[in-house]
């Protein structure tokens, strides 16, 4: 019995000490002249790479710029400095959910910025809805965005779904085929993970509808590092177009493999990673002509200014797919606050209905989604520029066939 009490006592002491250290850990509540903005993103773990490219640098850059100008302008013309509360979700959705609860109920931040990744954004969506915060989900590519926007009416989905990118690519290829530059055979490989599957599922019917023949269609497991076998089969298939729905490791590996084996298809398309600033280095300086997912308006001065600011602040240029959209979402937030203040309901309504001037041009959401997206980009003269949809302002003409490696 004595023993039991001893244990119980040890338990309570340990708990009390730990709990006390927590109480004091809470952040000081903001004074009236500041806005607290919180976010939890992957700073460690497998998602840290993606978050470190598309999400975190843009958050920090934006806060730095806004505070450099004296803070966010409020509807009454006064300015409030931004105070940031940043947590690491360790790439775990359990930790992420708890961090959001912490931001909302403990730190009571004014606004919460979204995490990186589709799964992460979905995991927090019900919570954000319950606490009433608007959620500007950028790095979440999902075909179910319309359903989610309807389910959580303060959520905004800004990077489209796999289907959009697949059909966008098919359109670009169909034009080239109609012009007689490529044959109607496609060799496609896809990574056996959520993203790759969504894309290939969207692409198969779209290719068929456009009259293409999918002569090679193979998936490879996540983590594959040797692409020689599938690349030589793709080469032997007689297709002019090589299409890879891939993640960065695959995109980079296939580029190197194609170069090593002298595989020179007229269209070389890879997915995530192709728009990264490090890609030309991976391709040994021969990136020109490579197509990939994403893109930015190569003729726009605001994009150029954003790239310069990003390079100066972070040390390297942003990626040319999600980064600019992430930054645009923050500009939207800033402008919406300037128009209606910090009330979450008003903010959500303004984001949903308003028109915003951003780095990616004028943005007006449709049913809480950004639909005016770059789906296909291409490296041209050392820059990754949007080529599809062809009718989008600033679209460059695709260079097909791609110059040899």
């Amino acid at each position: 019995m004595v023993n039991l009490f001893k244990h119980a006592k040890a338990c309570t002491t340990a708990f009390a000490v730990a709990a006390a250290s927590f109480m004091t850990a809470g952040h000081a509540t903001a004074a009236d002249d500041t806005i607290t903005i919180g976010y939890a993103v992957a700073l460690t773990g497998p998602n840290a790479t993606g978050a470190g490219i598309s999400t975190v640098p843009n958050y920090r850059l934006w806060v730095d710029q806004v505070n450099g100008e004296g803070g966010i302008e409020m509807p009454d013309g006064s300015r409030k400095m931004i105070e940031v509360v940043e947590y690491d979700d360790r790439s775990s959705n359990e930790d992420l959910v708890r961090a959001i609860e912490r931001l909302a109920s403990q730190d009571k931040v004014d606004l919460i910025l979204p995490p990186w990744g589709t799964g992460a954004n979905l995991a927090i969506a019900p919570l954000m809805a319950r606490f009433g915060y608007p959620q500007l989900a950028v790095t979440a590519v999902t075909d179910k965005a319309p359903e989610f926007a309807a389910r959580w009416d303060r959520s905004f989905w800004m990077l489209g779904g796999g289907h959009d990118y697949a059909t966008g690519l098919v359109d670009v290829l169909a034009q080239a085929r109609d012009a007689g530059t490529i044959n109607n055979k496609i060799a496609a490989v896809s990574v056996a993970d959520g993203f790759g599957i969504d894309l290939i599922k969207g692409a198969r019917p779209a290719f068929e509808e456009a009259g293409f023949e999918l002569v090679y269609d193979e998936s490879y497991p996540l983590g594959t590092s040797d692409f020689a076998a599938i690349m030589s089969e793709a080469q032997a298939s007689g297709a002019d177009s090589f299409v890879a729905f891939s993640y960065p490791p695959g995109s980079f590996g296939m580029t190197k493999t194609a170069q090593a084996m002298g595989f020179n298809p007229k269209v070389f398309y890879i997915s995530v990673g192709g728009a990264f600033p490090i890609y030309p280095g991976i391709a040994d300086g021969k990136a020109d002509g490579v197509m990939a997912i994403g893109g930015v308006d190569g003729t726009s001065d605001s994009v150029k200014a954003y790239f310069d600011a990003h390079t100066a602040f972070v040390g390297n240029p942003p990626d040319s797919w999600a980064s600019a959209v992430t930054f645009a979402s923050l500009e939207m937030l800033e402008q919406a606050i300037g128009r209606v203040g910090l009330d979450h309901g008003d903010l959500a309504a303004e984001l949903s209905n308003g028109t915003f001037d951003t780095v990616i041009g004028q943005v007006k959401l449709e049913d809480n989604q950004l639909r005016d997206l770059w789906t296909v980009g291409q490296w041209q003269n050392g820059a990754f520029v949007g080529v599809g949809p062809a009718d989008k302002t600033g679209a460059a003409a695709p260079v097909i066939p791609k110059p040899e490696w």
Partner: protein, 303 residues
């Protein structure tokens, strides 16, 4: 006396959500989850010394059962099926592997999580046709907390019961010396299997209960090996051979990790590594045993 203390303590813990903030409740859920995982892990691995890294295989499988069934049947029914799936998995795995000893079992158990993850991935891609499922179950954070608390109480209660039963005695003998156990007429395979199945069923249920908080599941999200490592380190930290050891390891470590993620996000992996080494060197039998050892030492000095 303790027949009064435990129910009262449990009732008090169950009443906490009525006064706690959302974040405090989130913390409690995390804490109770790891208390459950560490205690369930220790139920088998504590007495037998079979270090299992398969925790997330069962935990993740539980979450996946909910993800697959949440649109077709009622939640209590899903929990029943989850328990069945966990037990069946453990039975198959246990029958084929519990003859492995020492490091071979550790390696196998680690591979098991990867195996199940790849099997589910294969199934989802080739049969279901897409990867990633949604869990839209109408359960609040409070509901999750209460379920998890009940599971934790059951786990610790069951461990206490096993410790006093013939099964517990047999497991301890097996842990001390398998040859001796065999010669004393203990049916090794059956005893180990029983404990393994009980432990795995609880781990699977814990995954099912926790899963509604994730909303979206993918094999890569669900089968996160860190869960297995954390469970082991928590149980060992507190003391895997004691009834309250795993719980006592889980609570402070969980809070420490939470504190680190907010204040020193970059050092968390370093801390985790240092902790692993520290526990093995300083408290091979857990902090509880370590403290008792210190006290005993002092008493002997004064005497």
């Amino acid at each position: 006396m303790k027949y009064v203390i435990y129910p009262v303590a449990l009732a008090l813990l169950a009443a906490v959500p009525f006064v706690a903030s959302d974040y405090a409740l989130g913390l409690l859920i995390g804490m109770v989850t790891y208390v459950t995982l560490a205690s369930a892990w220790a139920m088998f691995s504590g007495p037998t010394h079979y270090v299992s890294l398969a925790t997330v295989a069962f935990y993740g499988a539980g979450a996946y059962v909910v993800a697959m069934l949440n649109e077709v049947m009622a939640y209590p029914m899903i929990l029943l099926i989850t328990a069945g799936v966990g037990a069946a998995m453990a039975l198959v795995v246990g029958l084929s592997t519990l003859r492995l000893a020492g490091v071979y079992f550790v390696i196998f158990s680690f591979g098991l999580a990867e195996l199940i993850r790849q099997l589910i991935t294969w199934y989802e891609i080739n049969i279901y046709g897409t990867l990633g499922r949604y869990i839209f179950v109408d359960i609040t954070a409070r509901g999750i907390y209460w379920q998890m608390l009940a599971l934790a109480a059951i786990t610790i209660g069951l461990t206490a019961y096993i410790n006093r039963s013939r099964l517990g005695l047999a497991l301890r003998v097996i842990g001390d010396d398998e040859v001796v156990a065999a010669h004393s007429g203990i049916p090794l395979a059956r005893m180990k299997l029983m404990a393994f199945v009980l432990s795995a069923t609880i781990l699977t249920l814990a995954g099912a209960i926790a899963s509604p908080r994730w909303v979206y599941v993918e094999p890569a999200i669900v089968f996160n090996p860190t869960v297995s490592f954390l469970t082991v380190i928590m149980a060992l930290f507190g003391g895997a051979n004691r009834l309250w050891g795993p719980a006592l390891g889980a609570i402070p470590l969980f809070l420490a990790f939470e504190y680190l993620s907010a204040h020193f996000p970059d050092v968390y992996p370093i801390f985790l590594g240092a902790l692993f080494i520290g526990v093995v060197f300083l408290f091979p039998n857990g902090v509880l045993a370590g403290i008792e050892g210190l006290r005993r030492g002092k008493k002997e000095e004064t005497a």
